[in-house]
Point group: C2
């Protein structure tokens, strides 16, 4: 166990990321974007939410540097902000998605 303490800034930043991922709709958006760039309308359809709602969430995810936007004509494609984010989120999701063996 390398480090089990965090200073206040790290805690706040980490909590913000967790907070954003703690919303089912937003989590779905992020997961969809991990595979590669997805347009807003495609996200809305795949998630079953209105484009407006998706856009609202995307704004927060953009502001937190979790996702990045890339315009192609009329459409805007979203993907992980960088490789670090992609790796971290991918790992987190894989890890936590694993069922606990000794649950009770």
């Amino acid at each position: 166990m390398a480090r089990t303490t965090l200073d206040d800034d790290q805690t706040a930043e980490l909590a913000e990321i967790f907070h954003l991922l703690g919303e089912p709709t937003r989590l779905r958006i992020v997961v969809c974007c991990l595979a590669g760039p997805v347009s807003v309308s495609a996200l809305a359809e795949r998630i079953g939410a209105s484009p407006s709602l998706v856009s609202h969430h995307l704004r927060l995810l953009r502001a937190a540097r979790i996702l990045r936007a890339e315009r192609r004509g009329k459409q805007v494609f979203y993907s992980a902000a960088d490789e670090h984010i992609r790796t971290v989120l991918g790992d987190m999701i894989e890890h936590v998605a694993e069922p606990a063996d000794d649950a009770g």
Copy 2:
């Protein structure tokens, strides 16, 4: 990239965990508990919150099987619910606490 899609149940469960960790006070509590069993009053002091507030948060973390309680006399000690949780949370916190090299 092993898997980038999650079903609805997995998404909900994952979102719940993230949601609980997305609160600074709660995140601090969890981080404190990763090193080993900590009493409620010790948590309250180390975090700078009232024992009542800590207890409220602990209830949620207990219910989500993130932390477990162990009574020793008058005190109650909290720690990670199991090794899986400890590993997963430890990894997440270490990972996300790493600064991004190519941020901008």
